[in-house]
Protein backbone atom coordinates (compact mmCIF):
# COMPACT_ATOMS: atom_id res chain seq x y z
CA UNK A 1 0.00 0.00 0.00
CA UNK A 2 1.40 3.36 -1.03
CA UNK A 3 0.25 6.39 0.86
CA UNK A 4 -1.62 9.18 -0.86
CA UNK A 5 0.72 11.95 -2.07
CA UNK A 6 -1.11 14.69 -0.19
CA UNK A 7 -0.82 12.77 3.05
CA UNK A 8 2.89 12.25 2.47
CA UNK A 9 3.39 15.93 1.78
CA UNK A 10 1.32 16.99 4.79
CA UNK A 11 3.25 14.77 7.18
CA UNK A 12 6.68 15.65 5.81
CA UNK A 13 7.34 18.55 8.19
CA UNK A 14 6.50 16.51 11.29
CA UNK A 15 8.50 13.54 10.10
CA UNK A 16 11.64 15.48 9.23
CA UNK A 17 11.51 17.48 12.45
CA UNK A 18 10.94 14.35 14.54
CA UNK A 19 13.86 12.54 12.88
CA UNK A 20 16.14 15.52 13.37
CA UNK A 21 14.97 15.83 16.99
CA UNK A 22 16.56 12.44 17.60
CA UNK A 23 19.91 13.42 16.12
CA UNK A 24 21.46 15.67 13.47
CA UNK A 25 21.39 14.08 10.05
CA UNK A 26 21.65 14.61 6.28
CA UNK A 27 19.38 14.10 3.30
CA UNK A 28 20.14 10.52 2.37
CA UNK A 29 20.02 9.29 5.97
CA UNK A 30 16.75 11.12 6.65
CA UNK A 31 15.14 9.40 3.66
CA UNK A 32 16.46 6.05 4.79
CA UNK A 33 14.97 6.63 8.22
CA UNK A 34 11.59 7.57 6.74
CA UNK A 35 11.62 4.39 4.72
CA UNK A 36 12.42 2.31 7.81
CA UNK A 37 9.83 4.01 10.01
CA UNK A 38 7.07 3.64 7.43
CA UNK A 39 8.17 0.13 6.49
CA UNK A 40 8.55 1.30 2.92
CA UNK A 41 4.97 2.49 2.58
CA UNK A 42 5.94 6.13 2.52
CA UNK A 43 7.79 6.63 -0.75
CA UNK A 44 9.34 10.03 -1.25
CA UNK A 45 10.93 10.98 -4.49
CA UNK A 46 14.44 11.46 -3.16
CA UNK A 47 15.09 14.88 -4.64
CA UNK A 48 11.88 16.34 -3.27
CA UNK A 49 13.21 16.09 0.28
CA UNK A 50 15.67 18.90 -0.36
CA UNK A 51 13.23 21.71 -1.11
CA UNK A 52 11.42 20.63 2.07
CA UNK A 53 14.65 20.85 4.07
CA UNK A 54 15.38 24.26 2.59
CA UNK A 55 11.91 25.48 3.50
CA UNK A 56 12.30 24.31 7.09
CA UNK A 57 15.67 26.02 7.18
CA UNK A 58 14.18 29.26 5.91
CA UNK A 59 11.47 29.04 8.59
CA UNK A 60 14.20 28.65 11.20
CA UNK A 61 13.09 25.18 12.35
CA UNK A 62 16.34 23.56 11.35
CA UNK A 63 19.92 24.68 10.79
CA UNK A 64 22.26 23.51 8.06
CA UNK A 65 25.98 23.19 8.21
CA UNK A 66 28.49 21.85 5.72
CA UNK A 67 30.61 19.06 7.09
CA UNK A 68 32.58 16.14 5.75
CA UNK A 69 31.21 12.64 5.35
CA UNK A 70 33.02 9.51 6.50
CA UNK A 71 34.37 9.03 2.97
CA UNK A 72 35.63 12.61 2.73
CA UNK A 73 32.91 14.24 0.61
CA UNK A 74 31.44 17.59 1.51
CA UNK A 75 28.03 17.00 3.05
CA UNK A 76 25.29 19.25 4.35
CA UNK A 77 24.10 18.28 7.83
CA UNK A 78 20.85 19.48 9.34
CA UNK A 79 20.03 19.92 13.04
CA UNK A 80 16.80 20.96 14.72
CA UNK A 81 16.63 24.38 16.42
CA UNK A 82 14.74 25.48 19.54
CA UNK A 83 12.06 26.94 17.30
CA UNK A 84 11.90 23.64 15.47
CA UNK A 85 11.29 21.77 18.72
CA UNK A 86 8.46 24.15 19.60
CA UNK A 87 7.01 23.62 16.14
CA UNK A 88 7.35 19.87 16.53
CA UNK A 89 5.28 19.97 19.73
CA UNK A 90 2.66 21.99 17.87
CA UNK A 91 2.65 19.59 14.91
CA UNK A 92 2.34 16.66 17.24
CA UNK A 93 -0.72 18.22 18.91
CA UNK A 94 -2.35 18.78 15.54
CA UNK A 95 -1.70 15.27 14.29
CA UNK A 96 -2.99 13.88 17.58
CA UNK A 97 -6.16 15.89 17.11
CA UNK A 98 -6.54 14.45 13.59
CA UNK A 99 -5.75 10.98 14.89
CA UNK A 100 -8.28 11.19 17.73
CA UNK A 101 -10.97 12.53 15.45
CA UNK A 102 -10.43 9.75 12.97
CA UNK A 103 -10.39 7.12 15.72
CA UNK A 104 -13.75 8.39 16.91
CA UNK A 105 -15.15 8.12 13.41
CA UNK A 106 -13.71 4.64 12.81
CA UNK A 107 -15.17 3.28 16.05
CA UNK A 108 -18.54 4.87 15.32
CA UNK A 109 -18.55 3.11 11.94
CA UNK A 110 -17.46 -0.06 13.70
CA UNK A 111 -15.65 -1.31 10.62
CA UNK A 112 -13.31 -4.24 11.03
CA UNK A 113 -9.77 -2.98 11.70
CA UNK A 114 -7.21 -3.26 8.88
CA UNK A 115 -5.61 -6.67 8.55
CA UNK A 116 -1.90 -7.31 8.98
CA UNK A 117 0.78 -5.96 11.25
CA UNK A 118 0.96 -2.21 11.26
CA UNK A 119 4.71 -2.07 11.78
CA UNK A 120 7.03 -4.57 10.24
CA UNK A 121 10.21 -3.16 11.62
CA UNK A 122 13.25 -5.29 12.14
CA UNK A 123 12.41 -7.82 9.46
Amino acid sequence: MDLNKDLVAASSTSLVLAILAQEESYGYAILKRVRELSAGRMEWTDGMLYPVLHRLERLGYIEAQWGVSECGRRRKYYAITARGRTQLVEERKQWQAVDETLRGVWSALSLPPPVGPLVSQGT
Partner: protein, 456 residues
Protein backbone atom coordinates in the same frame (compact mmCIF):
# COMPACT_ATOMS: atom_id res chain seq x y z
CA UNK B 1 35.84 -4.26 -18.24
CA UNK B 2 38.29 -3.50 -15.46
CA UNK B 3 37.24 -1.77 -12.25
CA UNK B 4 39.14 1.52 -12.82
CA UNK B 5 37.54 1.87 -16.25
CA UNK B 6 34.18 1.43 -14.66
CA UNK B 7 34.89 4.06 -12.02
CA UNK B 8 35.94 6.52 -14.72
CA UNK B 9 32.74 5.90 -16.61
CA UNK B 10 30.59 6.46 -13.54
CA UNK B 11 32.45 9.70 -12.88
CA UNK B 12 31.72 10.81 -16.44
CA UNK B 13 28.07 9.98 -16.02
CA UNK B 14 27.92 11.90 -12.75
CA UNK B 15 29.66 14.83 -14.44
CA UNK B 16 27.06 14.83 -17.15
CA UNK B 17 24.21 14.65 -14.67
CA UNK B 18 25.75 17.48 -12.67
CA UNK B 19 26.13 19.77 -15.67
CA UNK B 20 22.56 18.99 -16.67
CA UNK B 21 21.40 20.00 -13.20
CA UNK B 22 23.52 23.17 -13.17
CA UNK B 23 21.69 24.52 -16.17
CA UNK B 24 18.60 24.92 -14.03
CA UNK B 25 18.46 28.40 -12.65
CA UNK B 26 16.45 27.56 -9.57
CA UNK B 27 18.96 24.96 -8.40
CA UNK B 28 22.03 26.74 -7.06
CA UNK B 29 25.45 25.13 -7.22
CA UNK B 30 25.47 24.34 -3.49
CA UNK B 31 22.20 22.47 -3.98
CA UNK B 32 23.73 20.57 -6.87
CA UNK B 33 26.53 19.58 -4.53
CA UNK B 34 24.06 18.43 -1.91
CA UNK B 35 22.12 16.39 -4.47
CA UNK B 36 25.34 14.93 -5.81
CA UNK B 37 26.31 13.75 -2.34
CA UNK B 38 22.91 12.08 -2.16
CA UNK B 39 23.38 10.46 -5.55
CA UNK B 40 26.81 9.08 -4.67
CA UNK B 41 25.60 7.70 -1.36
CA UNK B 42 22.70 6.04 -3.12
CA UNK B 43 24.98 4.57 -5.77
CA UNK B 44 27.35 3.10 -3.22
CA UNK B 45 24.44 1.72 -1.17
CA UNK B 46 23.00 0.03 -4.26
CA UNK B 47 26.48 -1.13 -5.19
CA UNK B 48 26.99 -2.85 -1.87
CA UNK B 49 23.58 -4.45 -2.33
CA UNK B 50 25.10 -6.18 -5.35
CA UNK B 51 24.11 -3.99 -8.31
CA UNK B 52 26.55 -3.11 -11.08
CA UNK B 53 27.78 0.47 -11.31
CA UNK B 54 25.74 1.39 -14.37
CA UNK B 55 22.60 -0.06 -12.93
CA UNK B 56 23.17 1.61 -9.58
CA UNK B 57 23.66 4.95 -11.32
CA UNK B 58 20.45 4.60 -13.32
CA UNK B 59 18.37 3.67 -10.30
CA UNK B 60 19.90 6.39 -8.14
CA UNK B 61 19.16 9.04 -10.79
CA UNK B 62 15.64 7.75 -11.13
CA UNK B 63 15.08 7.92 -7.38
CA UNK B 64 16.20 11.55 -7.27
CA UNK B 65 13.17 12.15 -9.43
CA UNK B 66 12.10 14.04 -12.50
CA UNK B 67 14.39 17.06 -12.81
CA UNK B 68 11.69 19.33 -14.20
CA UNK B 69 9.47 18.67 -11.21
CA UNK B 70 12.40 18.97 -8.86
CA UNK B 71 13.44 22.25 -10.44
CA UNK B 72 9.89 23.55 -10.03
CA UNK B 73 9.93 22.64 -6.33
CA UNK B 74 13.25 24.41 -5.91
CA UNK B 75 11.90 27.42 -7.78
CA UNK B 76 8.90 27.56 -5.47
CA UNK B 77 11.15 27.52 -2.42
CA UNK B 78 13.80 29.84 -3.85
CA UNK B 79 11.90 32.15 -6.17
CA UNK B 80 14.48 34.88 -5.61
CA UNK B 81 16.98 32.84 -7.59
CA UNK B 82 15.01 33.49 -10.72
CA UNK B 83 15.55 37.17 -10.01
CA UNK B 84 19.21 36.99 -9.09
CA UNK B 85 20.14 39.29 -6.24
CA UNK B 86 21.50 42.69 -7.16
CA UNK B 87 24.45 42.90 -4.89
CA UNK B 88 27.05 40.24 -5.42
CA UNK B 89 28.15 40.34 -1.78
CA UNK B 90 25.01 38.50 -0.74
CA UNK B 91 26.80 35.28 -1.61
CA UNK B 92 26.58 32.83 1.24
CA UNK B 93 30.23 31.92 1.31
CA UNK B 94 31.97 34.25 3.74
CA UNK B 95 35.31 34.55 2.03
CA UNK B 96 33.79 35.68 -1.23
CA UNK B 97 31.61 38.26 0.50
CA UNK B 98 34.66 39.84 2.18
CA UNK B 99 36.35 40.03 -1.19
CA UNK B 100 33.18 41.45 -2.71
CA UNK B 101 33.00 44.16 -0.06
CA UNK B 102 36.65 45.08 -0.51
CA UNK B 103 36.08 45.31 -4.24
CA UNK B 104 33.10 47.59 -3.71
CA UNK B 105 35.18 49.85 -1.46
CA UNK B 106 37.96 50.05 -4.06
CA UNK B 107 35.51 50.76 -6.87
CA UNK B 108 33.76 53.51 -4.94
CA UNK B 109 37.12 54.92 -3.83
CA UNK B 110 38.31 55.10 -7.41
CA UNK B 111 35.01 56.66 -8.48
CA UNK B 112 35.56 59.40 -5.89
CA UNK B 113 39.13 59.88 -7.11
CA UNK B 114 37.88 60.26 -10.68
CA UNK B 115 35.33 62.79 -9.46
CA UNK B 116 38.10 64.69 -7.71
CA UNK B 117 40.25 64.49 -10.83
CA UNK B 118 37.65 66.21 -12.95
CA UNK B 119 37.32 68.97 -10.34
CA UNK B 120 41.09 69.35 -9.99
CA UNK B 121 41.63 71.72 -12.95
CA UNK B 122 39.34 74.24 -11.22
CA UNK B 123 42.07 74.78 -8.64
CA UNK B 124 44.17 76.07 -11.52
CA UNK B 125 41.50 78.46 -12.65
CA UNK B 126 39.96 76.37 -15.43
CA UNK B 127 36.17 76.44 -15.72
CA UNK B 128 33.94 73.71 -17.06
CA UNK B 129 31.97 76.17 -19.20
CA UNK B 130 34.67 78.58 -20.20
CA UNK B 131 37.28 75.93 -20.93
CA UNK B 132 35.01 73.30 -22.44
CA UNK B 133 37.66 72.53 -25.05
CA UNK B 134 40.22 71.55 -22.45
CA UNK B 135 37.72 69.28 -20.71
CA UNK B 136 36.57 67.72 -23.96
CA UNK B 137 40.11 66.91 -25.11
CA UNK B 138 41.03 65.41 -21.73
CA UNK B 139 37.74 63.73 -20.89
CA UNK B 140 39.09 60.20 -21.18
CA UNK B 141 42.11 61.08 -19.10
CA UNK B 142 39.98 62.06 -16.11
CA UNK B 143 38.42 58.66 -15.80
CA UNK B 144 40.05 55.91 -17.86
CA UNK B 145 43.34 55.78 -15.89
CA UNK B 146 41.26 55.02 -12.79
CA UNK B 147 39.35 52.34 -14.66
CA UNK B 148 42.62 50.78 -15.81
CA UNK B 149 43.87 51.07 -12.24
CA UNK B 150 40.81 49.19 -11.00
CA UNK B 151 41.58 46.26 -13.28
CA UNK B 152 45.27 46.33 -12.43
CA UNK B 153 44.29 46.17 -8.74
CA UNK B 154 41.80 43.41 -9.39
CA UNK B 155 43.83 41.16 -11.63
CA UNK B 156 47.37 42.29 -11.00
CA UNK B 157 49.71 43.22 -13.83
CA UNK B 158 53.27 42.53 -14.74
CA UNK B 159 55.71 45.42 -14.30
CA UNK B 160 56.20 45.63 -18.06
CA UNK B 161 52.43 45.94 -18.59
CA UNK B 162 52.21 48.58 -15.88
CA UNK B 163 54.94 50.57 -17.55
CA UNK B 164 53.22 50.25 -20.90
CA UNK B 165 49.88 51.41 -19.45
CA UNK B 166 51.47 54.39 -17.72
CA UNK B 167 53.34 55.32 -20.89
CA UNK B 168 50.13 55.17 -22.92
CA UNK B 169 48.29 57.51 -20.57
CA UNK B 170 51.21 59.94 -20.37
CA UNK B 171 51.46 59.97 -24.16
CA UNK B 172 47.72 60.56 -24.41
CA UNK B 173 47.94 63.47 -21.98
CA UNK B 174 50.80 64.86 -24.00
CA UNK B 175 49.14 64.68 -27.40
CA UNK B 176 45.83 65.96 -26.06
CA UNK B 177 47.46 69.15 -24.83
CA UNK B 178 50.68 69.73 -26.73
CA UNK B 179 49.14 71.09 -29.93
CA UNK B 180 47.83 74.65 -29.84
CA UNK B 181 44.40 73.57 -31.10
CA UNK B 182 41.90 76.29 -31.89
CA UNK B 183 39.07 76.48 -29.35
CA UNK B 184 35.89 75.12 -30.84
CA UNK B 185 37.77 74.00 -33.96
CA UNK B 186 37.39 70.82 -35.96
CA UNK B 187 40.59 69.23 -34.73
CA UNK B 188 39.62 69.81 -31.12
CA UNK B 189 36.38 67.93 -31.71
CA UNK B 190 38.23 65.16 -33.54
CA UNK B 191 40.68 64.77 -30.64
CA UNK B 192 37.84 64.76 -28.12
CA UNK B 193 36.09 61.95 -30.00
CA UNK B 194 39.10 59.84 -30.92
CA UNK B 195 41.26 59.96 -27.81
CA UNK B 196 38.78 58.00 -25.65
CA UNK B 197 38.52 55.38 -28.42
CA UNK B 198 42.28 54.88 -28.39
CA UNK B 199 42.39 54.86 -24.58
CA UNK B 200 39.59 52.32 -24.35
CA UNK B 201 42.01 49.82 -25.89
CA UNK B 202 44.50 50.68 -23.15
CA UNK B 203 41.78 49.88 -20.63
CA UNK B 204 41.30 46.60 -22.50
CA UNK B 205 44.96 45.71 -22.00
CA UNK B 206 44.54 46.35 -18.28
CA UNK B 207 41.29 44.39 -18.26
CA UNK B 208 42.59 41.29 -20.01
CA UNK B 209 46.10 41.39 -18.53
CA UNK B 210 48.17 38.47 -19.79
CA UNK B 211 45.12 37.19 -21.66
CA UNK B 212 45.23 40.18 -24.02
CA UNK B 213 47.19 38.07 -26.49
CA UNK B 214 44.43 35.44 -26.51
CA UNK B 215 41.18 35.49 -28.45
CA UNK B 216 39.31 34.64 -25.24
CA UNK B 217 40.81 37.53 -23.27
CA UNK B 218 39.90 40.08 -25.91
CA UNK B 219 36.44 38.61 -26.35
CA UNK B 220 35.88 39.00 -22.61
CA UNK B 221 36.82 42.64 -22.98
CA UNK B 222 34.33 43.02 -25.83
CA UNK B 223 31.64 41.48 -23.60
CA UNK B 224 32.66 43.75 -20.77
CA UNK B 225 32.44 46.81 -23.03
CA UNK B 226 28.91 45.96 -24.14
CA UNK B 227 27.62 45.32 -20.64
CA UNK B 228 29.41 48.39 -19.34
CA UNK B 229 27.75 50.56 -21.94
CA UNK B 230 24.32 49.22 -20.95
CA UNK B 231 24.96 49.73 -17.25
CA UNK B 232 26.25 53.23 -17.91
CA UNK B 233 23.12 54.15 -19.83
CA UNK B 234 20.96 52.76 -17.03
CA UNK B 235 22.89 54.64 -14.37
CA UNK B 236 22.60 57.81 -16.45
CA UNK B 237 18.84 57.35 -16.71
CA UNK B 238 18.61 56.90 -12.95
CA UNK B 239 20.75 59.98 -12.48
CA UNK B 240 18.38 61.91 -14.72
CA UNK B 241 15.40 60.94 -12.56
CA UNK B 242 17.29 61.85 -9.39
CA UNK B 243 18.22 65.21 -10.88
CA UNK B 244 14.65 65.90 -11.89
CA UNK B 245 13.43 65.36 -8.34
CA UNK B 246 16.30 67.35 -6.87
CA UNK B 247 15.57 70.33 -9.09
CA UNK B 248 11.83 70.16 -8.38
CA UNK B 249 12.34 69.89 -4.62
CA UNK B 250 14.87 72.70 -4.25
CA UNK B 251 13.04 74.98 -6.65
CA UNK B 252 9.95 74.55 -4.50
CA UNK B 253 11.75 76.15 -1.56
CA UNK B 254 13.14 78.92 -3.71
CA UNK B 255 16.69 77.63 -4.16
CA UNK B 256 18.12 77.15 -7.64
CA UNK B 257 20.10 73.87 -7.64
CA UNK B 258 21.30 74.28 -11.21
CA UNK B 259 24.77 75.66 -10.45
CA UNK B 260 25.38 72.74 -8.10
CA UNK B 261 24.12 70.33 -10.72
CA UNK B 262 26.25 71.77 -13.48
CA UNK B 263 29.42 72.20 -11.49
CA UNK B 264 29.38 69.14 -9.24
CA UNK B 265 26.70 66.59 -9.80
CA UNK B 266 26.92 66.20 -13.57
CA UNK B 267 30.71 66.05 -14.04
CA UNK B 268 31.42 64.04 -10.88
CA UNK B 269 28.52 61.69 -11.52
CA UNK B 270 29.43 61.18 -15.16
CA UNK B 271 33.00 60.08 -14.43
CA UNK B 272 32.18 58.22 -11.22
CA UNK B 273 29.48 56.20 -12.97
CA UNK B 274 32.10 54.78 -15.36
CA UNK B 275 33.79 53.05 -12.42
CA UNK B 276 30.59 52.06 -10.70
CA UNK B 277 29.32 50.59 -13.97
CA UNK B 278 32.54 48.61 -14.37
CA UNK B 279 32.25 47.31 -10.84
CA UNK B 280 28.65 46.24 -11.40
CA UNK B 281 29.53 44.43 -14.62
CA UNK B 282 32.37 42.63 -12.85
CA UNK B 283 30.25 41.73 -9.85
CA UNK B 284 27.35 40.47 -11.87
CA UNK B 285 29.33 38.91 -14.68
CA UNK B 286 28.15 35.38 -14.14
CA UNK B 287 25.09 36.22 -12.12
CA UNK B 288 22.80 37.65 -14.71
CA UNK B 289 22.34 36.93 -18.36
CA UNK B 290 24.34 39.32 -20.49
CA UNK B 291 22.15 42.01 -21.99
CA UNK B 292 24.15 42.96 -25.08
CA UNK B 293 23.70 39.58 -26.81
CA UNK B 294 20.00 39.64 -25.97
CA UNK B 295 19.58 43.04 -27.61
CA UNK B 296 21.63 41.78 -30.55
CA UNK B 297 19.30 38.84 -31.06
CA UNK B 298 16.35 41.19 -30.98
CA UNK B 299 17.69 43.82 -33.35
CA UNK B 300 19.65 41.83 -35.91
CA UNK B 301 16.52 40.71 -37.80
CA UNK B 302 15.09 44.24 -37.64
CA UNK B 303 18.25 45.80 -39.05
CA UNK B 304 18.32 43.19 -41.79
CA UNK B 305 14.74 44.11 -42.70
CA UNK B 306 15.47 47.83 -42.81
CA UNK B 307 18.65 47.43 -44.87
CA UNK B 308 17.04 45.04 -47.35
CA UNK B 309 13.98 47.26 -47.68
CA UNK B 310 16.26 50.24 -48.30
CA UNK B 311 18.25 48.41 -50.99
CA UNK B 312 15.11 47.09 -52.64
CA UNK B 313 13.46 50.51 -52.64
CA UNK B 314 16.55 52.12 -54.09
CA UNK B 315 16.79 49.51 -56.84
CA UNK B 316 13.05 49.69 -57.56
CA UNK B 317 12.65 53.45 -57.68
CA UNK B 318 16.09 54.20 -59.08
CA UNK B 319 16.56 57.02 -56.60
CA UNK B 320 20.09 58.10 -55.94
CA UNK B 321 21.48 59.15 -52.59
CA UNK B 322 21.04 62.74 -51.62
CA UNK B 323 24.65 63.62 -51.04
CA UNK B 324 25.15 65.77 -48.03
CA UNK B 325 28.22 66.55 -46.04
CA UNK B 326 27.18 64.46 -43.06
CA UNK B 327 26.30 61.43 -45.17
CA UNK B 328 29.63 59.74 -44.60
CA UNK B 329 29.34 60.02 -40.83
CA UNK B 330 25.82 58.61 -40.95
CA UNK B 331 27.07 55.58 -42.86
CA UNK B 332 30.00 55.21 -40.47
CA UNK B 333 27.53 54.99 -37.63
CA UNK B 334 25.51 52.41 -39.54
CA UNK B 335 28.61 50.28 -40.01
CA UNK B 336 29.51 50.67 -36.34
CA UNK B 337 26.08 49.34 -35.41
CA UNK B 338 26.41 46.41 -37.81
CA UNK B 339 29.89 45.56 -36.54
CA UNK B 340 28.51 45.81 -33.01
CA UNK B 341 25.61 43.46 -33.81
CA UNK B 342 28.06 41.03 -35.36
CA UNK B 343 30.56 41.30 -32.52
CA UNK B 344 28.01 40.75 -29.76
CA UNK B 345 26.35 37.84 -31.45
CA UNK B 346 29.81 36.32 -31.89
CA UNK B 347 30.63 36.97 -28.24
CA UNK B 348 27.57 35.06 -27.07
CA UNK B 349 27.86 32.17 -29.47
CA UNK B 350 29.25 28.79 -28.63
CA UNK B 351 31.96 28.29 -31.28
CA UNK B 352 31.35 24.52 -31.29
CA UNK B 353 27.74 24.89 -32.34
CA UNK B 354 26.97 24.06 -35.96
CA UNK B 355 25.74 26.81 -38.26
CA UNK B 356 22.09 27.76 -37.83
CA UNK B 357 19.44 30.09 -39.20
CA UNK B 358 20.69 33.02 -37.11
CA UNK B 359 24.12 32.67 -38.70
CA UNK B 360 22.56 33.00 -42.14
CA UNK B 361 20.77 36.12 -40.92
CA UNK B 362 24.09 37.56 -39.72
CA UNK B 363 25.66 37.00 -43.13
CA UNK B 364 22.69 38.66 -44.82
CA UNK B 365 23.08 41.60 -42.43
CA UNK B 366 26.79 41.96 -43.16
CA UNK B 367 26.38 41.71 -46.92
CA UNK B 368 23.43 44.13 -46.95
CA UNK B 369 25.47 46.61 -44.92
CA UNK B 370 28.40 46.21 -47.32
CA UNK B 371 26.14 46.89 -50.31
CA UNK B 372 24.54 49.95 -48.72
CA UNK B 373 27.92 51.31 -47.77
CA UNK B 374 29.32 50.62 -51.22
CA UNK B 375 26.49 52.64 -52.74
CA UNK B 376 27.24 55.49 -50.35
CA UNK B 377 30.99 55.39 -50.98
CA UNK B 378 30.41 55.34 -54.73
CA UNK B 379 28.21 58.39 -54.50
CA UNK B 380 30.64 60.24 -52.28
CA UNK B 381 33.76 59.32 -54.24
CA UNK B 382 32.34 61.10 -57.25
CA UNK B 383 31.99 64.34 -55.32
CA UNK B 384 34.78 64.15 -52.76
CA UNK B 385 37.12 66.42 -54.68
CA UNK B 386 34.33 68.94 -54.90
CA UNK B 387 33.87 68.89 -51.14
CA UNK B 388 37.59 68.90 -50.44
CA UNK B 389 39.62 66.82 -48.04
CA UNK B 390 38.86 68.36 -44.66
CA UNK B 391 40.18 66.53 -41.59
CA UNK B 392 36.61 65.62 -40.65
CA UNK B 393 36.02 63.95 -43.97
CA UNK B 394 39.36 62.14 -44.00
CA UNK B 395 38.73 60.80 -40.51
CA UNK B 396 35.25 59.64 -41.47
CA UNK B 397 36.54 58.11 -44.70
CA UNK B 398 39.30 56.26 -42.84
CA UNK B 399 36.80 54.89 -40.37
CA UNK B 400 34.51 53.84 -43.16
CA UNK B 401 37.32 51.91 -44.86
CA UNK B 402 38.39 50.24 -41.61
CA UNK B 403 34.85 49.08 -40.89
CA UNK B 404 34.36 48.05 -44.50
CA UNK B 405 37.47 45.87 -44.42
CA UNK B 406 36.33 44.35 -41.14
CA UNK B 407 32.89 43.52 -42.52
CA UNK B 408 34.26 42.20 -45.81
CA UNK B 409 36.66 39.92 -43.97
CA UNK B 410 33.86 38.82 -41.64
CA UNK B 411 31.59 38.07 -44.58
CA UNK B 412 34.24 35.89 -46.24
CA UNK B 413 34.98 33.98 -43.03
CA UNK B 414 31.32 33.64 -42.11
CA UNK B 415 30.35 32.29 -45.52
CA UNK B 416 33.17 29.77 -45.46
CA UNK B 417 32.00 28.72 -41.99
CA UNK B 418 28.44 28.31 -43.25
CA UNK B 419 29.66 26.21 -46.16
CA UNK B 420 31.59 24.01 -43.76
CA UNK B 421 35.07 25.01 -44.98
CA UNK B 422 36.14 27.21 -42.10
CA UNK B 423 35.64 27.28 -38.35
CA UNK B 424 33.78 29.82 -36.30
CA UNK B 425 36.92 30.38 -34.27
CA UNK B 426 38.55 31.91 -37.34
CA UNK B 427 35.84 34.57 -37.40
CA UNK B 428 36.30 35.20 -33.69
CA UNK B 429 40.04 35.56 -34.15
CA UNK B 430 39.51 37.99 -37.05
CA UNK B 431 37.31 40.22 -34.91
CA UNK B 432 39.56 40.19 -31.87
CA UNK B 433 42.73 40.76 -33.90
CA UNK B 434 41.02 43.73 -35.47
CA UNK B 435 40.46 45.58 -32.19
CA UNK B 436 43.85 47.37 -32.18
CA UNK B 437 43.14 48.71 -35.69
CA UNK B 438 40.36 50.97 -34.39
CA UNK B 439 42.60 52.28 -31.65
CA UNK B 440 45.49 52.77 -34.06
CA UNK B 441 43.38 54.86 -36.43
CA UNK B 442 42.03 56.88 -33.50
CA UNK B 443 45.60 57.51 -32.38
CA UNK B 444 46.53 58.62 -35.90
CA UNK B 445 43.66 61.11 -35.88
CA UNK B 446 44.79 62.52 -32.53
CA UNK B 447 48.53 62.53 -33.21
CA UNK B 448 49.03 63.03 -36.95
CA UNK B 449 46.01 65.05 -38.07
CA UNK B 450 47.00 68.30 -36.36
CA UNK B 451 50.35 68.07 -38.14
CA UNK B 452 48.75 67.25 -41.50
CA UNK B 453 45.76 69.57 -41.46
CA UNK B 454 46.71 72.26 -39.00
CA UNK B 455 45.21 73.16 -35.65
CA UNK B 456 41.89 74.55 -36.86
Amino acid sequence: MSAPDNAVRIEQQIDQWRSYLRRRQAIASVDVEELEDHLREQISALGSAGLGDDEAFLIAVKRIGNLDKLSREFAREHSERLWKQLVATSDSSGERSVRGRREAVVAFGLAILAALAIKLPELFGLQLNADAGFYARNLGLFVLPFLAGYFVWKRGAQPSTLLWLAAAFVAAALFANVYPLATGGTQEALTAIHLPIALWLVVGVAYAGVRWSEVGGRMDFVRFSGEHFIYYVLIALGGGVLTGFMVALFTSIGIDPEPFFERWMLPCGAVGAVLIGAWLVEAKQSVIENMAPVLTRLFTPLFVLVLLAFLATMAWTGRGLDIQRELLIAFDLLLVVVVGLLLYSISARDPQQPAGAFDVLQVVLVIAALLVDAVALWAIAARISEFGFTPNRVAALGENLILLVNLAGSAVLYVSFLRGHGTFTALERWQTSYLPVYAAWAAVVVIAFPLLFGYG
